[in-house]
Symmetry: C2
Subunit: 349 residues, 2 copies
Amino acid sequence: MLLGYHTRVGELKSRVEVLRWDGSLQVLDQRLLPWEERWVSVESVSQAVALIQSLAVRGAPLLGLVAAYALALEAQRCPHLDHLEGQGAALAKARPTAVNLPRAVAKMLSLARQVPEEKRGPTLLAAAQQLHREETSACQRMAELGAGILAGPRLGVLTHCNTGVLATGGVGTALGVVRALHAQGRLAMLYAGETRPVLQGARLTVWEAQRDGIPVTLLPDGAAGSLLASGAVGAVVVGADRIAADGSVANKVGTYPLAVLAQRHGVPFVVVAPTSTLDPHCPTGSAIPIEHRQPEEVTHWQGKPWLPFEVTVYNPAFDVTPPELIMALVCERGVVTPVTQAGLAEFCS
Amino acid sequence: MLLGYHTRVGELKSRVEVLRWDGSLQVLDQRLLPWEERWVSVESVSQAVALIQSLAVRGAPLLGLVAAYALALEAQRCPHLDHLEGQGAALAKARPTAVNLPRAVAKMLSLARQVPEEKRGPTLLAAAQQLHREETSACQRMAELGAGILAGPRLGVLTHCNTGVLATGGVGTALGVVRALHAQGRLAMLYAGETRPVLQGARLTVWEAQRDGIPVTLLPDGAAGSLLASGAVGAVVVGADRIAADGSVANKVGTYPLAVLAQRHGVPFVVVAPTSTLDPHCPTGSAIPIEHRQPEEVTHWQGKPWLPFEVTVYNPAFDVTPPELIMALVCERGVVTPVTQAGLAEFCS
């Protein structure tokens, strides 16, 4: 464990909401943010898959939650195991990188197999709600631990993509740590990389920060080098979509360059992710499946092309940061530092 | 000098044009590319300044050329030294980072002072045309030298921003090297970072490459880390806007992260720039003035906002790469490697 400011943080709150359950499931459509706050009713697994694949819902912990609720809905409609297994398989492979998705599905299907048909609907719903509570309290705990290991009276924090309420259903992973620093009066500035191609940093993180009164500065991803060289950044704090057994972290593309730059400038690079993101069955970073997405994400904006010609595009959704670049991994169960296979194994038990 | 493939390259050509002189000066408006090829007549220095500041013309060598032609035009209209000095001062400070701009102005004003009023018009025009020829032949020479130091039968080249015809009036600096490799049958792929915020890589480099039949793949700037980690890149080749006496290179923001990543992956990082970009009066990288541009470049696209709210933006146009990250600096007079103050001083004489 690192020494740091172990100040207690009161319960963190946000004005942002992303998922509602009141007998039916509703999610905020993140494709339309920050222009429009449109809530979508999720009625089926096939609809959930479409929302997940189009990035209407995204963020590793939130993907797990939506998968769990969607399977609970299916169990209410049709509790046959064959049906649920088929729906679960479709959900689990909706996107390949975030392990929370197949993990939540496996958990729900395992429960479904243990109870008789007539109990599957209520059992799976109770399990989804329990997962929701767990992820929410994991966020609070990670925020406290993460703020605790970041020393200094005030610091600038650089982050990437969106790791807040919109990614977790709780106060966030990396953005939860930022919220805790802000609550303690120790956040000089949140620097949000815009996160091309889909601009989750510009569209989602800036919006969340402004909603909650957190001072935020937006930058193009390529400007992170000069920002770090300027000395304005006291820590780089990011989330994760899947963490291999060796501590390699798959996260939104553009994360790995930040880790390399942070090392060069002696700035702590911290990953904040719930244990639901740890994948002990994935031995190394190179074993993590990396999703490559369609070229239109790069060449188009809101359905219109930026470029009047066809072009080959390299568009991986994630990259992999090796453990030696990560100062600490903050989970809800504690802080792993240095990030080693043995250190991580304790948290996977 | 590095050993490499010293194959002679025939005269390189491009289908792209950016600057025409036929008694009047015309430039291609790069703000509209690749959607529209609109040529603009430049009638005065104040118009040239506006075109430079709005990025209708950009690229360090091209800025020098446009400044030279614009002053020649002013000398034809009004050859008084006071007038030319005033116009030159406005031009020289139109953008602060590229040294080619004040250098071309200083050269033209020095000539103007040496000749009587009635000769200033033709003298300055001849000097602008001479500079144009020099920059064009410098591009050809740099392309040969640069391709010569890059070993290997075939390689992928990652570049940033635009350093081609559109930036130089010749075949380009870094993109000239790419053209030479392609002419030699040694280019596996040109990887063009899109170069946020103004997307010179996506809009200009991809367009130039496709015009000239060069295989090109576009990527978001943040994807350069995983591309380098994949092993697809044999060299990172970029241009420069100003090179300090210690070998520090100011270039389009996002260049420095590529240099840090290239070092980590053992990939040669090569800067290609004419000696007109060297500034012996600027001792170190931190002495290079870095232009910070308006937030709308990041938050807007083609006049429309991406974001429905105001936000603080960090938008430096350039960053600085220290010499220890640069394997070689290719100028038209030769190759400096390693990049040291003493090595550079020879080329500044």
